[in-house]
């Protein structure tokens, strides 16, 4: 992973990429699925992200860690333009999805291609089936006859099918917390997203439910690019291929998970992962 190593920033501000370097990844290495350069983000006058530059590799799990309020969730929400629903929020800089400028695409289109799972499981007060079918129906992705098949496929991918196949038309609220979160993953997967963003998906779950979701994530990276925000360092160490460390709105360091956790380049990263932070 030479590119990634090359990217690791020694300074507080990551070095900016040369455009050439960015658009022409070397052969044999993972393709950058999302390419963010010089991203600044503001809530009104308060700046939440400073000059973030990062390449998110395709078909890998990218973990984003950092203390709360460091901007990692805000960063995640720029990748599918969900930040736009917050009044007075503003992003400057460039984000590319497969080389296309994300800001010039249609927001609905972006959100279909870049799915999201939230911190608190948020199933709709509908049946399990209707929850998964929601995205398929509004986007009219599959024909009516194929709907059931598509729902089953998504539930299998989220490792939920065997638990719910006999109760597809029961309310989603009857499921346990962990099952609800996997239902939300299935719902996001149903529209075949190219990228799946997960915003601390296990923070409200018990260890067993968490283990199930982590296991599921390993399988998911074959289907899509995964970006996982977590404040649980062990979780990042367990599941992520590459990890980025955020602090006070800056991306301090970005490298393979092994390097980040064993030989971090930055003092701040080291302080954080060894618990000496603050």
């Amino acid at each position: 992973m030479a590119t990634l190593q090359g990217m690791s920033a020694m300074e507080k501000t990551p070095t900016k990429m040369e455009p050439d370097e960015v658009s022409k990844p070397s052969n044999g290495r993972p393709q950058p699925k999302l390419l963010v350069s010089a991203l600044n983000f503001f809530y009104g006058k308060r700046q939440a992200l400073l000059d973030v530059t990062i390449q998110i590799p395709e078909n890998r799990i990218t973990g984003l860690i950092g203390p709360s309020g460091c901007g990692k969730s805000t960063f995640l929400r720029t990748l599918n333009r969900m930040y736009e629903i917050v009044p007075h929020a503003r992003a400057e800089g460039r984000i590319e999805l497969d080389g296309q400028n994300l800001m010039e695409l249609d927001a609905m289109e972006v959100r279909r291609r870049v799915g999201m799972v939230f911190q608190k499981s948020n199933p709709f007060p509908k049946s399990i089936f209707d929850n998964v079918a929601f995205g398929l129906r509004v986007n009219r992705i599959v024909r009516r006859g194929e709907l059931h098949e598509a729902v089953e496929r998504s539930l299998r991918r989220a490792a939920l099918w065997d638990e719910v196949k006999d109760s597809l038309h029961d309310s989603a609220y009857k499921l346990s917390g962990g099952q609800q979160q996997r239902l939300c993953i299935a719902r996001a997967l149903a529209v075949d997203p190219e990228v799946l963003l997960l915003d601390e998906p296990c923070s409200a779950l018990d260890p067993i439910a968490t283990a199930k979701i982590e296991e599921l994530l390993f399988g998911l990276k074959k289907l899509c690019t995964v970006v996982l925000v977590t404040h649980n360092m062990q979780q990042a160490a367990r599941v992520a291929d590459v990890t980025g460390f955020f602090l006070l709105g800056r991306l301090i360091e970005f490298n393979t998970t092994e390097v980040i956790f064993k030989t971090p380049a930055s003092r701040q990263t080291e302080d954080y992962i060894t618990g000496r932070f603050g």
Partner: protein, 283 residues
């Protein structure tokens, strides 16, 4: 963009605009009512209208001085009967209420709030007018007073509850007894809100007509006592609007304007005070 996405986005914009039209429709009805009354009623309001008695049927001119004073007397009676029950009931619910009994009181209060005003009129009729054998100011005041109770109770309770527990504990810690704490600390702290709530309550019953038409009835002259029928603005508007004379209609518009302005002014003042209090509390 795919044609399907273009279609979905157009539907979105269209439907959301329609909801905006609905909201505008609601607001424009208010503006229309206010504008029409200002225009029509404003023309017929003059000094005579507020100082003179109604002229005998068929003659033009005259005013509704007796109805204005009558409405004030009825509201005074209503406040005297409704406010004590509402206020002390609210204090009970907020400060002393247990579980089951307080729940029962609260639920009954909500139900009483939903009783149609005309039914309150029947109640006042059966308990005051029937035994006395004639219409009276007292009966009208009682009907309005009972109508005031539910909102007086609930708003008093809400405002008392909003007083932080720390304030009570502070007073209790100084050795004050519970009722002294309530009287000297809790109620003064909530007084502004409670008074405002009662003002809104009065504004609501000030416009009530149905419970008055067969309790306080109407009177073309000054009422001679509390046990005599009395004129009131809402009943006058009702009678004059349905009457056959143009001059009556004009007077109905003028009376409508006066009533509307009084009710809206009370509402605007009270709501502004409440809004300011709640933002102050948030800060």
């Amino acid at each position: 963009m795919s044609p399907r996405l273009v279609w979905r986005k157009s539907v979105s914009v269209m439907m959301l605009s329609l909801t905006g039209v609905c909201a505008l429709a609601g607001v424009s009805v208010l503006l229309f009512i206010l504008g029409y009354l200002l225009w029509y009623g404003g023309k017929y309001i003059n000094w005579d209208f507020v100082t003179q008695l109604p002229k005998p049927v068929g003659e033009t001119g005259g005013g509704m001085a007796n109805a204005i004073v009558g409405s004030a007397k009825l509201l005074l009676l209503a406040a005297l009967t409704g406010v004590p029950v509402g206020f002390f009931g609210g204090v009970y619910l907020s400060e002393f209420g247990g579980k089951t009994f307080a729940f029962l009181v609260r639920y009954t209060t909500d139900l009483l709030n939903g009783v149609p005003s005309i039914v309150m009129g029947i109640f006042a009729y059966t308990v005051v007018v029937l035994p006395m054998r004639h219409f009276s100011t007292l009966a009208g005041g009682l009907a309005l007073g009972v109508m005031m109770i539910p909102i007086a109770v609930r708003s008093t309770e809400e405002f008392l509850r909003a007083i932080p527990t720390a304030l009570r504990e502070g007073a209790l810690a100084l050795g004050a007894s519970k009722w002294k704490t309530i009287v000297k600390v809790v109620i003064p702290a909530a007084a502004g809100g409670i008074v405002t709530g009662i003002m809104l309550d009065l504004a609501r019953v000030a416009g009530e007509t149905a419970p008055l038409i067969f309790t306080s009835f109407n009177n073309r002259f000054w009422s001679s006592g509390w046990n005599q029928p009395i004129a009131s603005l809402p009943v006058m508007i009702y009678t004059y609007a349905l009457g056959p004379y143009d001059d009556w209609h004009r007077q109905a518009w003028a009376a409508g304007l006066i009533l509307l302005l009084l009710v809206l002014a009370a509402n605007i003042v009270a709501r502004t005070v409440l809004a300011r209090r709640s933002t102050a509390r948030e800060m």
